[in-house]
Structures are given as structure tokens and as C-alpha cells.
């Protein structure tokens, strides 16, 4: 107790330097950010309610980060595992694989946080606001949905673009209308397509020669190139890959989103915490299943992805990850409960449509969520209009207002 009081005393001593007129006044927001990170703000309520719920945005965002951790940790291991498959290094143990993956992605994560938080700090200071915690989540999401071999400078450019043009120009966290992490991903996808798709980006080789049977294609890319009626998938070393393997996530792909199992763990955390909307998740799964079933019913080798059964669609690409972590973003999704059902359904359905019938794009989930982000305000508008017209219809029976 006394120790932490001392720490607070020390910080309180230097606090005046960061306030208006102090030596470091231009770092006020940064100071405030770290101060409130260390100690719960002691501001008391001045109007309205005198007591408050103990939850705040820091807690909320950290909970989302915790929900992402299973995917993140598994993804790191999987990078090492894919590396060992590709190079034929059978003697790598679990920890070596994990360490390999960790070292591969750590620079990406650090870059993302430094660039993103740096921009957040600058904008918070310019606006005179406190630092918003939203980027704690986006900063981890962005590397996770990129191929493992994405150069750090690309991450930096994409993060800067997304944070400035998808969020800060609109006013910061809470005002953005499209998901920041997916904006970064879309930026990379359209600006540097050769680094974002194809057979050479999803497996980290780091100079080690690959075995002869190696093919770096992700299962989704494999499916998209199928020419036969039956779906047989192979791992990157040419061995057959079962749907169960893909459920656990032993396949190549953007490193954070391969394991459906880990995504489910994250989903449970988000649902229990009440951050993600169960309405969006259920309706998005429903939408994807419905569209997947429709596509599968009219399957044609012209559009090979349509030959995948609706349930298996979830194991491919980033669909499951996008539904759980992207579509449920409370800021950019619909805000009304009715709207959430519609929004979620369309996210799922459009993702499958793009994936099946637009051969130009390997994955539809990203574009689908971004598209629906743009439509979410319209859906909400319609729902709110219904409420308004219901209110207008109330009969006023008043007869005469004169006394």
C-alpha cells in the first residue's frame, strides 16, 4: 500500500510540468494516458448520478485483447509449424515453433502499435482530449489479419492510413464508420496485392529452402483453383488436409485467423463480457449458412468455391474471424437491435457471395464487413424511422385546450 502511494506521490510531483503552462504541456495527453493507466482517475461526478459502474473503456478494450490472445498465441505457433512443414525440419518442438512465430510477428505488432498509438497521441494532444483506447485492439488485429511475410514498412503505412483516414478525420474512436483494422487490411490488399495474396506470402520460410512438394497456397486459394467436382485439400507439404485440421487451424493463412477453435474461445469471451453482440454473430452465421447452402445447391465448377459445403465455408479464409472480431465492432456495426440482425445476416451472406462468385477476390469477408459498415447507418436509419413513425401515429384525443 505504502509503496504504491509513493509512486503516486512521485507522479503527482511531476504532474504540474505536464499541465497547461508547464514545461512539457505538449505531452499532456500522453502523460494523462499513462497516469490513468497506472491509477484509476480520481475525478468525481459533478452532475447527475453520484455513483458509477466500475467498467470503463480501458477494461473493455483489454477484454477484447484478451479474447484475441488465443488466436494470437496459436497463430504464432502455427507460423513455426507451417515453417517446419515447408522446410521439412521435423525436429522442431512446440516451443521452437512458437518462438519462431513469435519472432516473426513481434516486429509487425510493435510497428503497428508504435505507429498507431503515436498517431493517437498526437491527435489526442491536438484536440486536448484524453487518449482513446480503441487502438489497443486495432493495433493487434492488424498484424493478425496480414500474411506473416508482410514487411513492417507496409504495416506502418497501412496503420497510418487507416488510423488517420478511417478514424481520426471523423473524430476518433467512437466516430469512425468503418472498421479501422479492416481498412488497414484493405489498404494493403489494394496497394500491394502481390504481397497480400498468392502462394508465397502466407508461409514464413526466412531463407530456408522449401521441400520439393511445397506449395504455399492457402486452402481457400486451393479451393478457388479446383477443377474437379470433389473438394480435396492439401497442406503446404502436399499431405492431405482434413476439415478437422482446419478447424484446429493447422493450415496456412493470415496468421491470426486460421484456428476456428481459438476464434470460438475468443467469441465466448466476447459474448460473456457482453462486448460482441450475439445478435450479429448468430445472424452472420445464419447469413453465411443460407448463402453457402444456396451456392452449394447450385454448385458449378465455373465457381469452384460454391462446391464447398456451407458448414465448411467457415473453415476457409477469414470468415469466422471477421464475423467474431470485425462484424461485431460496436462502433461500426448497427446500433439498434433490429438493425444488428439485418446487418449480421448481410455480412455473412455478402461474404459468401463475394467468395463464391467474384473470382477476382480470394476472400470476401473483409470486403463484406467494410461494405456493411457503410450500410449500417442506413439500416439503423430505417429502424429508427420506424420508431419515429410509430410515435407519430399515436392518436391525440385532446378535445379542446381552452379552459
Amino acid at each position: 500500500m505504502s509503496k504504491k502511494n509513493k509512486l503516486k506521490e512521485r507522479i503527482d510531483q511531476i504532474k504540474p510540468h505536464f499541465e497547461k503552462g508547464g514545461k512539457f504541456a505538449s505531452f499532456h495527453s500522453v502523460f494523462e494516458g499513462f497516469y490513468t493507466f497506472l491509477f484509476t482517475p480520481d475525478e468525481t461526478s459533478s452532475s447527475g448520478v453520484h455513483i458509477h459502474d466500475a467498467n470503463d473503456t480501458k477494461r473493455t478494450m483489454i477484454t477484447v485483447v484478451i479474447a484475441l490472445l488465443p488466436c494470437c498465441l496459436f497463430g504464432m505457433w502455427n507460423i513455426g509449424y507451417q515453417h517446419s512443414l515447408a522446410t521439412g525440419l521435423a525436429d522442431m518442438n512446440v516451443w521452437q515453433m512458437f518462438l519462431y512465430g513469435l519472432l516473426a510477428v513481434l516486429p509487425m505488432i510493435i510497428t503497428s502499435y508504435i505507429v498507431g498509438l503515436g498517431i493517437e497521441f498526437i491527435f489526442a494532444q491536438l484536440r486536448g482530449h484524453e487518449i482513446q483506447e480503441g487502438f489497443l485492439v486495432s493495433g493487434l488485429l492488424i498484424p493478425m489479419i496480414c500474411p506473416v511475410d508482410t514487411p513492417c514498412w507496409m504495416i506502418a503505412v497501412a496503420v497510418a492510413f487507416a488510423v488517420i483516414f478511417a478514424k481520426e478525420v471523423f473524430g476518433g474512436t467512437g466516430f469512425n464508420f468503418i472498421n479501422v483494422a479492416l481498412t488497414a487490411r484493405a489498404f494493403l490488399f489494394f496497394a500491394y496485392p502481390s504481397k497480400m495474396s498468392g502462394d508465397n506470402v502466407f508461409v514464413s520460410l526466412s531463407g530456408t529452402p522449401a521441400i520439393d512438394a511445397f506449395s504455399g497456397a492457402t486452402p481457400l486459394a486451393e479451393v478457388a483453383q479446383l477443377s474437379t467436382e470433389s473438394v480435396h485439400l492439401t497442406a503446404i507439404n502436399g499431405e492431405p488436409l482434413s476439415w478437422m485440421d482446419m478447424f484446429w487451424g493447422f493450415n496456412a493463412g493470415s496468421w491470426g485467423e486460421t484456428s476456428i477453435f481459438c476464434i470460438l474461445i475468443g467469441m465466448v469471451i466476447l459474448l460473456i463480457a457482453g462486448i460482441a453482440s450475439w445478435r450479429i454473430i448468430i445472424s452472420a452465421v445464419g447469413g453465411a449458412l443460407a448463402m453457402g447452402w444456396l451456392a452449394h445447391t447450385f454448385a458449378t465448377p465455373l465457381y469452384p468455391v460454391s462446391m464447398v459445403s456451407p458448414v465448411h465455408q467457415f473453415c476457409l479464409g477469414g470468415l469466422a474471424f471477421a464475423i467474431v472480431f470485425m462484424a461485431t465492432d460496436p462502433v461500426t456495426a448497427c446500433h439498434t437491435n433490429t438493425g444488428k440482425w439485418i446487418y449480421g445476416f448481410l455480412v455473412g451472406a455478402v461474404a459468401i457471395i463475394i467468395r463464391c462468385y467474384n473470382t477476382g477476390f480470394p476472400e470476401g469477408a473483409m470486403l463484406s464487413v467494410l461494405l456493411m459498415n457503410c450500410f449500417a447507418p442506413l439500416i439503423d436509419w430505417c429502424v429508427v424511422e420506424r420508431n419515429i413513425s410509430r410515435r407519430r401515429r399515436r392518436i391525440v384525443y385532446r378535445k379542446d385546450s381552452t379552459l
Binding site: 493507466f37 491509477f39 483489454i62
Partner: protein, 470 residues
């Protein structure tokens, strides 16, 4: 049988220090009338320090309408007019004369006219006998200072002098944390008389919302003159706002009056006895009160003498709230007064010097949250929580959707209404239902709000702007 309405969206916050039913009598040294408690009018003082007053002597008069008055709740001598910035009147205090219980004489209507044949309510507003009664009753309420105790929706202000309410809503229970039982020690005859009088003043009906405990009793008392409805469920079931929303929502152009059952009984008492009774039963409660219980006192009583009988906790700095912890006003424990319409005093820890290291990561079971991100919310802990007045977070933009809706039992989208109010979009505010709400309806949303925004203030300011621009 009374209709039963279950309020599903809401929250009973387990604030420590709930009052026992033990009741003590309190005789204040001084009482004060605070004009700010009666929004909707500008109040001009008409008594001077040194004036001798009796119960019912007008102290303030509305600038907009001379007939509407704020009266002294006791006999005594006007002590002082306290002023704040720019000579704004904070309150007028009256030193109590314990030896006198005189009361001004209020002219009352002779008797309530017999109901028209077939109980045709619409006839009341073109029948001269009824209209005369209405005019006299309204004048009596205004002269007795009881008019100012009523509230009208829209705007949550003292009713306009000429308004005829489309409906009147009365709540017979207070569901706020640690609130007292409003029905305690009320005379049935007073309640019935109050019902009879108010029933004559409205185009529509008198609605009484009650908790299951008092339904039967009130049904018998009301004797079909009022629509008694039972409300179950968590706070804000006892607020008139959700009761109106559940039974007969306000449409644009309508005016409702709202009051609580104790005000109704005070009206009935006036018409029964031709005397004024400003006694009230309050709960002194909260985490920093060691022996919370009920106190019988007078509107506007001084807090210092009320708290003399209570052992307070040992928190270094305490906040005394006149009212409940959700909607009340902070008052000074030494020279503050009980504010209207609150029947409660809450004492909580101020907490501004609590050092909490990385509180956002806390797994403590002593921190209350409805969100399942904290143990209290995850395990639905129901023990008493020792709240203090900290925000426990920083101000943010609205981020989480749906959290306000979960404690807001109206057919209204609170987030959209708040946003429209912040940007002053009058048309949207009207469309989204601003006329149906009062600031108190946003108390629970403000409590659960992760972004720690002052929602009640936003609504109060919005309603005020809308009212003044009309």
C-alpha cells in the same frame, strides 16, 4: 384486478446502507425553500428576512404568473435569502417557531360536484358546475403552494398555469436505491380525497402505479376513481416515466402531470382539513451511514440537524446527497437543506483521494459493475457495495452500443435521442421522443455508461432549450 406490468429493462443497484423501517421524529431548527427545485418559472421573493410567516405563507411568486407560489412549510421567521453568483437566489431559509403550528387559510371549493350521468367525463369541461369547481380547486392548489409540487411532462417542470393535463400519473413507490416506502403512515382518507380532486382536473384518467405490496390497499382506496396498476421489476419501475411509457405514452401536444403519492396525500389533506401538511418521511441511507433508518421531517429541513441523530462512517471525505445517489443533489452537510422532490438523504464516500493502482485491471469483488467484464457482473454478486463518487474511468465518445438500452424501459432509442440532443436538432429530438422523458429517466443509463458522459445534464439542458424556444 389491477393490471400487472413487468418492467424488464432496469437495474437494482445494491448500494450499501439500506434504511431499516425504524422511524424517528425530527424537528428542524430551520427549513429552506430552494427555487431551483421548481423549474419552469422564475421565482421572485415576496418575503423579507425578519418577516413572521406561518405554514402556507407565500415566500416566492412566479414572475410569469402571480398566482403560482412557493410557500413556507413551517411557521417561523424568515431568516435569510442566500444568493450565489450574479445574485441568483439559492434559497430562502425560515427559522422554525416550534410553539406555533398556525396555517394560512386557503379558500377551498365547497364540494365536489356529483358525477354527470353515465359518468361522462367529457361533460366536465363544458358543465358550469364542474368548471367552477375546477377553477376553485386549481386556485386553491396554487395558493397553497401545492401546485409547485406537481410536475408536468413534457419538460419535467412545474405545470403551466393554464394547462389541463391529458392524464395524471401518480407513483406510489420509489424504486431507487435505498428509497423509503412512500406509503408509510399515509391516511387513506387523504389519498382518496386527493384522487377525487385531481380526477376532476384532467381530461383523461388518473393512473396510480404501485408495487405489489400496496396494490390491494390502493385499489380499495381509489374505489375505481383511478386506474391502479402494479409494477414489478427493477428500478426504474417506480419512476413515473416508465409507468407512462407502459400505460399511455405521451403524444406530441399532450401534457401529463406527474406526482408521487405523498404529494397526492398532501393535496387530499388540504381539501379534507383546510390545513397544510408539509411533513414527509425520508430515508437517511447510504454506505457511510452506520444506522440508516427513516425520519419524519418537513420539506426543506436542514440537513445538519437531521444527521445529528446518525452515526456516520469514517471515510475522510463524505458526500451528502439530498435525494438518491442517482438523481439527487450534492448538499453541504453543515448548512444544506433537503431538496424537493427528494425524500431521501444519501451519504457516500467522496473517494477522490483513493489510490487505486491499475484499477481497470482489478479483479476485486468489491467493485460493482453490471458488465460481466468484472467479477461483480460475471458472478452476479448481490452483496452490498460500498460506492464512492468517482467516475472510475475517463470521458469518452459513445462506443458500446446497446448498453444504455438495457436499463431504459421506453420505446425510445436513447443513444439517438442523446445524439440529437447534443447537436440541438429539435425536429429529431421531438421525433425520437424527448417529450416523453425526464432527466431522471437517464439516471440508470448514466450509471452504466462506459463513456462516463453526463447524460441527465444533456437531457435537462436539451429540454430547457426546447421549452424556452417554444
Amino acid at each position: 384486478m389491477a393490471k400487472i406490468v413487468k418492467i424488464k429493462k432496469g437495474l437494482d443497484i445494491p448500494v450499501a446502507g439500506s434504511p431499516s423501517s425504524h422511524l424517528t421524529n425530527h424537528r428542524p431548527d430551520s427549513v429552506a425553500v430552494t427555487p431551483d427545485d421548481f423549474p419552469g418559472y422564475h421565482w421572485r421573493p415576496i418575503a423579507k428576512p425578519g418577516d413572521n410567516v406561518v405554514t402556507g405563507t407565500p415566500l416566492f411568486q412566479a414572475k410569469e404568473d402571480d398566482d403560482i407560489k412557493l410557500v413556507s412549510p413551517v411557521s417561523g421567521t424568515v431568516d435569510a435569502i442566500t444568493r450565489g453568483d450574479r445574485r441568483h437566489i439559492i434559497n430562502m431559509s425560515v427559522k422554525v417557531n416550534h410553539n406555533s403550528n398556525k396555517c394560512v387559510n386557503i379558500e377551498l371549493p365547497k364540494s365536489i360536484p356529483a358525477p354527470s350521468p353515465n359518468n361522462d367525463r367529457s361533460r366536465r369541461f363544458d358543465n358550469p358546475v364542474w368548471m367552477e369547481f375546477q377553477a376553485q380547486a386549481r386556485a386553491a392548489l396554487k395558493n397553497a403552494g401545492l401546485w409547485a409540487l406537481l410536475r408536468q411532462r413534457p419538460f419535467d417542470v412545474v405545470p403551466g398555469a393554464e394547462t389541463i393535463p391529458d392524464n395524471i400519473f401518480i407513483t406510489a413507490f420509489d424504486s431507487a436505491p435505498n428509497a423509503p416506502d412512500l406509503m408509510r403512515d399515509l391516511e387513506k382518507a387523504d389519498i382518496y380525497k386527493g384522487i377525487e380532486v385531481l380526477d376532476a382536473l384532467t381530461y383523461g384518467h388518473l393512473y396510480i402505479g404501485t408495487n405489489p405490496e400496496h396494490t390491494h390497499e390502493l385499489e380499495i382506496v381509489a374505489n375505481q376513481k383511478a386506474i391502479v396498476t402494479t409494477f414489478r421489476g427493477p428500478h426504474p419501475a417506480g419512476n413515473v416515466g416508465p409507468q407512462i411509457a407502459a400505460l399511455n405514452p405521451i403524444a406530441k401536444g399532450q401534457t401529463y402531470w406527474t406526482l408521487d403519492i405523498r404529494t397526492l396525500a398532501a393535496i387530499g389533506y388540504l381539501f379534507n382539513t383546510n390545513e397544510l401538511n408539509f411533513e414527509t418521511i425520508i430515508a437517511v441511507s447510504g454506505p457511510e451511514v452506520n444506522n440508516p433508518h427513516l425520519v419524519k421531517t418537513i420539506h426543506g429541513a436542514d440537513i445538519r440537524t437531521i444527521l445529528k441523530d446518525f452515526e456516520l462512517g469514517d471515510a475522510p471525505e463524505k458526500r451528502t446527497v439530498s435525494g438518491n445517489v442517482l438523481t439527487g443533489y450534492t448538499v453541504d452537510a453543515r448548512d444544506g437543506y433537503l431538496r424537493y422532490p427528494y425524500r431521501q438523504i444519501s451519504v457516500i464516500e467522496e473517494g477522490q483521494n483513493v489510490d487505486e493502482f491499475m484499477g481497470w485491471a482489478s479483479l476485486s469483488t468489491r467493485k460493482y459493475s453490471v458488465k460481466r467484464m468484472l467479477p461483480a457482473g460475471l458472478f452476479r454478486l448481490k452483496h452490498d457495495f460500498h460506492f464512492d463518487s468517482r467516475l472510475l474511468g475517463g470521458h469518452r465518445a459513445m462506443i458500446l452500443s446497446g448498453e444504455l438500452d438495457s436499463v431504459f424501459p421506453f420505446d425510445i432509442y436513447p443513444e439517438y435521442l442523446l445524439k440529437a440532443t447534443i447537436v440541438n436538432n429539435y425536429e429529431k429530438m421531438e421525433n425520437l421522443g424527448i417529450y416523453e422523458v425526464a432527466p431522471e429517466d437517464f439516471a440508470l443509463p448514466e450509471f452504466v455508461d462506459t463513456s462516463k458522459e453526463p447524460l441527465q445534464q444533456i437531457i435537462r439542458d436539451g429540454l430547457e432549450r426546447l421549452r424556452l424556444d417554444q
